[in-house]
Symmetry: C2
Subunit: 328 residues, 2 copies
C-alpha cells in the first residue's frame, strides 16, 4: 500500500483536565469507576469545581493513538472538531507538533472545545466525565474524501457513536475507505460505550471492521460472553485482525490463521492508566504498517502502552522513536 498516510484517525477532539482523587470522591459524585460518562457543560463545571489542582493535556482516544503513531514516525492525519478557543488551539498545536496532519475546519462560534475531566485514583485507574462541546458539530462534511482515500487504515473510536452527526461521518468514512480498498480499524472505546450502542456495534464489527481493538470487558460485552477466549474466537471470525488488551497480563491477538497471547511488559511505577488502550493501538498499528506479524504488533502495543501509564496524561511524555530504540 502506497498511500500518503499510514493511518487516519477520526475521533472526538478533546483536551483532558487531569487530577488525583480518592475512591470516596467517585462514590460521592456517583461516578462509575473506570468509565467515561458524557456530561453537560453545567455538570462538568460542577464536578470541576469540586476538584483539586489539575493539569491540562491534549487527549481524545483516536487522537491519542494518532499522536503515538506520529511520535513513532508513522505518516498520520486526524479529523476532529475543535472551536477556535484557547483549548482548541492547544489541541491543534499538540497533534500537529508531533507531525500529524490536522486540518478539519474549526468552529468559529457554537460550543467550546470539548474537555474531559480525568480523575485518577491511587490505583492508577481513571474515571472520566466528558463534555463533548464542539465535537457534536462534526458532520459528514468534515470527512474529506481524498484524505480517507489516501490512508491505508482509517481508525475510528467507538466514542464517535455518541454524537449523532458524528455517526454519519463515521459511516461515510467507512464507505470511502472500503471503496478505495483501504482498511477500517475500530476501538470499542469502553464497556459503557458498548452498552450504549450494543446492537449497532455487533453489526459494525461483523460487517465493516477489518481491525478491532478492545479490552477484556468490552469484548465480553460485545459478544455477551464471560469467557475472553470464547470472545477471541468470535472476534477471529468477524475481523481480519483483532487485539484484546488484558491490562498487565498483556494482550490476545487474532488473525485469520491464529490466536496468540503476548505477555505484558513490567511497568516500573504505575501512575495513570489514561490512554493505555489508545497507545497500545498506536504501537500495534505502527508495527502492522511496517509489515510485522500480529505477535510483534501486540508486543509493540504493550511496549508503547507501558510508557504512557508511568505519568499523568494520555500522550507520550517522550519521543517514542528513542523509547523504542532503547527498549524495543
Amino acid at each position: 500500500m502506497t498511500n500518503k498516510y499510514d493511518v487516519l484517525g477520526i475521533g472526538n477532539a478533546i483536551v483532558d483536565i487531569l487530577t488525583h482523587v480518592d475512591d470516596d470522591f467517585l462514590n460521592n459524585q456517583k461516578l462509575d469507576k473506570g468509565g467515561m460518562m458524557l456530561v453537560s457543560a453545567a455538570e462538568a463545571a460542577k464536578v470541576y469545581e469540586s476538584l483539586g489542582q489539575c493539569i491540562e493535556c491534549s487527549g481524545g482516544s483516536a487522537a491519542n493513538t494518532i499522536a503515538g503513531l506520529a511520535s513513532m514516525g508513522s505518516e498520520t492525519s486526524f479529523i476532529g472538531k475543535v472551536n477556535e478557543d484557547q483549548l482548541g488551539r492547544v489541541f491543534q498545536h499538540d497533534i500537529r507538533a508531533l507531525g500529524a496532519n490536522f486540518d478539519t475546519a474549526v468552529l468559529n462560534d457554537g460550543p467550546p472545545t470539548a474537555h474531559c475531566l480525568v480523575l485518577v485514583t491511587p490505583d492508577a485507574e481513571r474515571t472520566m466525565s466528558t463534555y463533548l462541546g464542539a465535537c457534536v458539530e462534526l458532520t459528514e462534511n468534515d470527512i474529506d474524501h481524498a484524505t480517507v482515500a489516501n490512508s491505508n487504515i482509517t481508525y475510528l473510536e467507538g466514542y464517535l457513536w455518541d454524537p449523532d452527526e458524528a455517526k454519519n461521518a463515521f459511516r461515510k468514512a467507512i464507505k470511502i475507505a472500503h471503496e478505495e480498498g483501504n482498511k477500517v480499524a475500530l476501538s470499542l472505546s469502553d464497556s459503557f460505550c458498548v452498552d450504549r450502542h450494543h446492537q449497532e456495534f455487533v453489526e459494525l464489527v461483523k460487517n465493516d471492521v477489518d481491525i478491532l481493538f478492545a479490552n477484556e470487558d468490552e469484548i465480553k460485552k460485545l459478544y455477551e460472553t464471560g469467557d475472553v477466549n470464547d470472545a477471541a474466537r468470535q472476534l477471529q471470525e468477524d475481523c481480519d485482525i483483532g487485539a484484546i488488551t488484558c491490562g498487565a497480563k498483556g494482550c490476545i491477538v487474532t488473525n485469520i490463521d491464529e490466536i496468540g497471547h503476548v505477555q505484558g511488559r513490567k511497568v516500573g511505577h504505575l501512575v495513570d492508566t489514561t490512554g493505555a488502550g489508545d497507545l497500545f493501538a498506536a504501537g500495534f498499528l505502527h508495527a502492522l504498517s511496517n509489515g510485522r506479524s500480529i505477535g510483534e504488533c501486540g508486543a509493540l502495543g504493550n511496549l508503547v502502552a507501558s510508557e504512557v501509564v508511568t505519568h499523568m496524561g494520555a500522550r507520550p511524555d517522550i519521543d517514542l522513536k528513542k523509547f523504542i530504540a532503547e527498549f524495543g
Copy 2:
C-alpha cells in the same frame, strides 16, 4: 499576629505551557538558558509553533508560592489579573482548589490570560518566554486595603516590576502592609529581572523589604559582588530575614542575629526545576508562620522544593501536608 491570612501573594497570574527541548533549540531561538524573557503575543505564538507537544499547568511565581502554602495548610490569599477566558478559568480554579482566596476582578475584554512557555532541557533547567497578557492590567485598584491589612505577610514577586501599572500596585501594597504593622516579603524572581530594575531593587530591599528571597545569581547581581557570603552579610544588614537558595547545595539563611547554611535534600530523579525557588519560599514562609527558627524555615523550604523538581510543572503534584508528614 492574628490576621486572617498568613500570607497574601501578589503576582503575575500565568498559565504555564511546558515541554521538553534540547539545548540546540534554545540556541536556534536565541533564548537565554535559565532566564525569563518577556515576549509579545506574536513572538510567543512563533515560539509555540516550533515546540513539540506540551502540557498546561497553572503557574506564576508568587501564585506557585501561594499554591504551595495553601497545600501545606497556611491561610492564603492571592491578587493577580486574569481574563475571563479558558486559561483564566484554569488559573482561577487551580489556586482556589488548594484553598487560597482569589477574588481579583477578572478582565472582561482586553488581553487574554497570560501564558508562559516553559522549555525544559535534559539537565532539568527551565527557560521561559512569557506573554504577560491580562497581567499588564493589574492596577492599584486591585489592591484591596482590607486584604493587605489582614495578612501577616504580603509576598511580592520581582517580576511584578515589569508591567508598569503593577509597580504602583506593588508600592500601594507595601505601604498598607507597613502601616498595619505587617511584614513585606519579596522574591527577586530572576537575575535578568534584577538587571532590568537594579537601582530600584537595591532601594526597595534596603527600605521596604522585611523578608527577602533570592538565588545566588540574583543576590550577587543585587549587591554587585562575586562572593555569595559577602552578599549574605549585606542582606543581613538590609532585611530582618533573608534566604539565598543555592540549588542542590541547599540555602543560606539570615536574620539579625545569625547567618546559617542549611544542607540541600537529595532528589531522586531531577526532571524540571520550574518552581523550585517558588516552592522553597512556600516551605520557608509556612515554617516562619508557625514560629520556627530560620534554620528550620530553610530546611522546610529545601524539602518542599525537592518535591516540585521531580515532575514537570511548578505546582506540587501531591498533597504537601502528607509529603511533609512522610519526609519532614
